[in-house]
Structures are given as C-alpha cells and as structure tokens.
C-alpha cells in the first residue's frame, strides 16, 4: 500500500480516515496494526479489499497485491481477488455469519465462488478445514447453524472461511475483541500456528498491544489516520520512539505492578478527523511536545534499524532531556514543560 488516502464525504464535511498510509506486508509475515478506535486502522484494512462503505471512497494512492494493482481491478477481477488472494476475518463472529445458512455451507461457498476447486472438492475440503481450525466434532458441526456455535467456535469458522482458498494474506480485524479472554488466547495461538503451517501472511488489527506481542513480527502504530511508528515488534516494545506508542505500552496493566498505582491512560480523547489538530496530530495529548509540534506536521523518519517514527522529539530525546523514565504525570506537556499561552 502506498500513500493511500481514503476519505468519507459526510454532510458535516470530509473526513480523511486514512491519510497517506504506506506499508508493505511480506510473504508469510505477521503484521500488527495498532491504534485506538477511530484511528483509521479498520478503514485501511477495508480499503485493501475495496470494501469501504458509503460514504467513503479511496481517493488516491495505490494498493498492490503480488504485482496486481488492486485499485484498478475490474469488477470481475475484484470478485476473484477477494476471498482468494486476500481473506478477511471480522470482529463480531455472531453478526458476521449468515444466521440462516449452515456453517459448512458458508465455508464451502467461499471456495465455490472462485472455481479453484470443483464443487466436489470444495465440499470435501470443508470438514478438514474445520478440523484445521480446531473445531471439535467438525463433521457434525458443519451441518449446524451459527447460532448453535459458541463465540470462539464461530470465530474459528470465520478463520476457516477466510483460509479456504489459501490466500496469500489474511486480514484479521479485531478478531478477539468480542471474545472471552481465555478464548482470545486460543484464537491467537491458532492464528500463529496457521501462519507457520500455511505461510499465510496475517495482518492483525487490534487496539490491544498484548495481542500484537504474542502474534506479530512487525507492528504499525496508527494515530488519526496516519502511521506514527512502525518496526519490528521486539524493537518497538523495548524502545518505542513515538510518545503515543510509548504511552500505549505504559498503559498495559501488568501483574507485577503495585496495586495502588493508578492505571496510566493517555489523557484526552481521539482527535476529530473533520478538523484535525495543526502540526503534529498528537500534540494536544503529548507529554513531550515542544513548540515545533504545534506548527509543523512531522514526517516519518528512520529512528532505528528498520524502525520509523513520526515525531519531532522522539523518546530518546525525551529520556535524555525530559526525564521520561521517571515521569509519573503524563498529562500533555508534563514532560517537556512546554505550555503555550
């Protein structure tokens, strides 16, 4: 994806949900896309499949899959591409499965749509697929309806559906958010195993850093429609350069913390994308902002081996000059001490 812009034309104005996003997913890689609600990560994913709902439109940029220019695909080619080259798993498996059709049929349908398998082959592949996603008693379950499944099982079925045609890339949009914590872990593990077995690239979208840590090798952090940091997971976790990433990592509650410490959340609310803040979009909430942050929007810069961040200050400087390591009060400006009148 290069320099993608996806905008929503509403009666209140134009919202640029995806503002110049570029990244690539390599074969077999697991990429995490993290950010809070409304930062544009879901829209980015939908854009890959050209599923952006009204009143949104992809306005500029390009998306290429394996050399194919996705945005130029004809209607027929698009239908081929979806579910075949790229598969998608959605957040709420109850509402994402058609309640009046048998689960086995819905999986079979995913294959029949693409003519890669003959009808008989497609039907035969259903049960093995369900077994591959670890649905117990798969043969009987294939004849059941979605409402007879539990939440975790439904999500597995969705994964089976997405993988049915051996796509090169599977996009998982918050696959665990609607599930119990124990089931979450199972699903993540399943995805990891599938990635290893089938070498399918996975793009995991979530707001949960912990999930990213357990599954992904690379991560992209998005804020207000832009990528603010990207790089290998271990590096980012150990040494985040963007204050937003840093705040996200700090806000994960940890077992070894003292009980009486307050949960450290990021102050402020997500920016209104109708009228995004001037300069750096994070500056109204950033503890380390300086004067430049108010006026000049930063670009992505290389801040480490294979790691980029979009910030004027960067955490290295924050540690050195602003005592970020010991900072307890992370309200906006608290680190830099910069409070314009």
């Amino acid at each position: 994806m290069e320099d993608l812009h996806t905008e929503f034309f509403t009666s209140g104005g134009t919202v640029t949900a995806v503002d110049g996003v570029s990244f690539e997913v390599r074969r077999g890689e697991t990429l995490g896309v993290v950010g809070e609600s409304g930062c544009g990560k879901s829209v980015t994913a939908m854009s890959i499949l050209r599923l952006v709902s009204e009143p949104g439109k992809i306005t500029s940029g390009s998306i290429k899959y394996d050399g194919k220019d996705v945005l130029q695909l004809s209607a027929d080619e698009l239908v081929d591409y979806r579910g075949n080259d790229v598969g998608m798993i959605f957040q709420d498996p109850m509402s994402s499965l058609n309640p009046v059709l048998k689960v086995g049929f819905q999986v079979e349908e995913a294959m029949r749509a693409h003519r890669r398998f003959s009808p008989k082959e497609a039907r035969d592949r259903v049960v093995p697929l369900l077994k591959q996603v670890r649905i117990p008693d798969a043969e009987a379950r294939a004849r059941d309806y979605p409402h007879q499944f539990s939440g975790g099982m439904r999500q597995r079925a969705m994964i089976a559906m997405a993988l049915a045609n051996n796509p090169g890339l599977v996009i998982a949009d918050e696959p665990t958010t609607a599930l119990d914590v124990t089931v979450q872990a199972q699903i993540i593990e399943l995805l990891r195993d599938l990635n290893e077995e089938m070498h399918t690239a996975i793009m995991l979208i979530t707001h949960n850093m912990a999930v990213v840590a357990s599954l992904c090798t690379r991560v992209i952090v998005m804020y207000a429609g832009q990528i603010v940091e990207e790089g290998p997971v271990e590096q980012i976790f150990e040494n985040p350069q963007h204050p937003y990433t840093w705040s996200l990592l700090r806000s994960i509650p940890r077992v070894d913390e003292h009980e009486h410490e307050r949960l450290r959340s990021i102050e402020g609310i997500a920016p209104d994308l109708l009228r995004p803040p001037a300069g750096c979009r994070f500056h109204p909430r950033c503890p380390f902002r300086v004067e430049q942050c108010y006026t000049d929007p930063p670009e992505l810069e290389l801040v480490g081996p294979d790691q980029e961040a979009r910030c004027w200050v960067k955490m290295d400087r924050a540690y050195k000059e602003m005592g970020a390591a010991d900072l307890f009060d992370v309200s906006p400006g608290a680190g830099s001490g910069y409070y314009p009148t």
Binding site: L49, L51, S53, V79, D80, Y81, R82, G83, N84, G87, M88, F90, D92, S95, S96, L97, N98, P99, V100, L101, E109, A110, A113, H114, Y145, H147, M158, M161
Partner: protein, 314 residues
C-alpha cells in the same frame, strides 16, 4: 420434526375451536335476530307454514337448532338452502365455490408476493435513485387505491380498446370459466397488497444490506447477485413472511367484493347473496368455511417459517 407435528396439531385444534366459536356466534346471533322470519318465501297458509318451519327445524329453540347444525357440520353436512325452490344440500356447493375462491386467492397472492418482493428488492438495491423514489411513491398510491377501484380501472382498460395489443390474454367478457378470465380479478385483488409487500421488502432489505454478514459475503468474493439473493434477501424475507398471514386474510376478505363485482361464483358471492336474500343457513355455512380457510392459510404461512429461518423450530 416432532415439534412441528405437535405444533400443527395444536394449530388444527385451534382452527377447529375458532370455527366452532365463530359459527356458533353467527348462528345464534342470526337466529336471535331473525328467528322464524328466516324463510324467504312464506306461504300464507299457516298449516303449510308450520310444515315448512318444522321441516327446517325452525320451530325448535335455537340452542337445539345449533346443536343439530353442529353435529351435522362436523360430519360434513352443512345443511340445506332455505331459499324456496332450491333446498339443495350445501356442502357440495360450498366445496365447488371454495375451489373457485381459493384459485382466485392463490393467483392474487402469487402476484402480490412475486411482484411485491421483486419491486421491493429492486428499490432497495437502487436506494435513493429515481427508481427508488418513483417506486416508493407509486407504492403508496397503489395501496391507497382500494381493490374495487383497481377493478374498475382494469375493466375500463381492458374492455374499452386496449385489448388488441395485449395478445389476447385479457378478455372482453367479465365472468369466470376460462383461464384468461383469471388475471384481471386476481390483479385487482392483489395490486394494493403487492404495494404493501414491496414497501415492506424494501425496508427489510435496506436493513439487511447493512448487516455484517452481508459484508462478509462481499469479502468472500461472492458475486452481487448471489450476495443479494442468497444472503440478503433470504434474511430480509423473514419479516415479510410474518405479514403474509394477515395479508392472506385480507386478500381472502377482499375477494368477497371482487367476486361480487366480477360475478365470480365463489364463496364471497355466495355470502353476499345469502345475506341479501336472507338465506341464513348459507350465511352461517359460508362464514364457517371462511374461518376454516383463513385458519389454514395462516397455518400454512407459519409452517414455512422454519424453512426460512432455522433459528425457529417448533
């Protein structure tokens, strides 16, 4: 399967009970009001009169009369016509006419559902285009025009000259007996309801199209038609089927007027004539027949539910 059978059994019992209740109320109501004046042609001679009254059981107290009627009706004997000169057993007549009415109703419902769902889906797919606006307004106008007015309009249309360019499927004589006489009354009956169904389908489709599972269907790479029909429409039809029961009832009721206007020898026409000629035996019989018909129609509709929505099991 067992659940369905039990359910059907329960419903059948309910239908029977309703029929009995309805028929008894009608019977008693009529008899209280009309009493022995029920004979349409009363001979002046008191002896002859008494004979006739006795022949028709009219000299008995009405609870007893009803009991006699009921015990006969259950065995399929709906009594005899009271009109002088007729005196014919009613059951065969009723069956014959029921067949006519059901045929008419069937085609009307076919039209209603077919055209209604079709147009409604189209309007939903092309939401907010001129197709949608025109269709929606046309729908309101269509169901505001009562079925008899449609009958008038259709008759005027077909009878006075447009006949030639419609391939002879539209007839010149109003009546019943040939297949080509079915479309016009069926159309008149069904048009208003088709509009209601169209409106409902459109609204339902609009809701369904926004659902997550439709989005999943797109993401799987399914083609437009498949998504719309197999995924969207199948779910959208569920609330439509809900309304089909009362709709069938309305069509059956409306057929009374249409049959009368077109001279179609069905139950409706029979009912009207019986009321106007005071042949109340027929009135009660037809009433009961209608109650049964409506009951069965509704039961049929309810039985199609599980086929459409597997979440519903009896």
């Amino acid at each position: 399967m067992r659940g369905t059978l039990i359910y059907t059994g329960q419903r059948l019992v309910l239908i029977a009970v309703t029929a009995v209740v309805v028929s008894s109320i009608v019977f008693i109501g009529i008899h209280i009001q009309a009493g022995t004046s029920m004979l349409s042609d009363r001979p002046a001679d008191p002896v002859r009169l008494a004979q006739l009254l006795h022949q028709y059981n009219l000299d008995l107290p009405w609870p007893q009369q009803y009991w006699i009627w009921l015990t006969h009706a259950v065995r399929g004997d709906m009594g005899v016509s009271l009109t002088a000169g007729r005196g014919e057993p009613l059951t065969p007549v009723l069956l014959r006419e029921a067949r006519v009415s059901v045929t008419l109703g069937f085609f009307a419902i076919l039209f209603t559902v077919g055209v209604g769902v079709g147009l409604g889906t189209l309007a939903a797919i092309r939401q907010n285009t001129w197709v949608d606006y025109v269709a929606s307004t046309a729908a309101v106008i269509t169901y505001s025009i009562p079925n008899f007015v449609w009958a008038f309009l259709l008759i005027i249309l077909t009878v006075s000259g447009f006949y030639s360019w419609t391939n002879g499927t539209i007839y010149e004589n109003i009546g019943w007996g040939t297949p080509e006489q079915i479309p016009v009354p069926a159309l008149a009956l069904g048009l208003p309801y088709a509009a209601i169904v169209a409106r409902l389908t459109r609204a339902s489709m609009l809701e369904v199209i926004r659902q997550d599972y439709v989005r999943t269907a797109w993401a799987k790479g399914l083609r437009g038609r498949v998504v719309m029909v197999r995924h969207a429409l199948r779910n959208a039809l569920i609330p439509v089927v809900t309304v089909l029961g009362p709709l069938a009832t309305a069509i059956i009721t409306g057929s009374v007027v249409i049959e009368y206007l077109f001279g179609i020898p069905g139950l409706g026409k029979e009912f009207v004539e019986s009321i106007l000629s005071r042949d109340y035996n027929i009135t009660v019989a037809v009433f009961t027949a209608y109650a049964l018909l409506i009951g069965f129609a509704n039961l049929l509709v309810d039985l199609t539910y599980p086929i459409l929505d597997p979440r519903i099991r009896y």
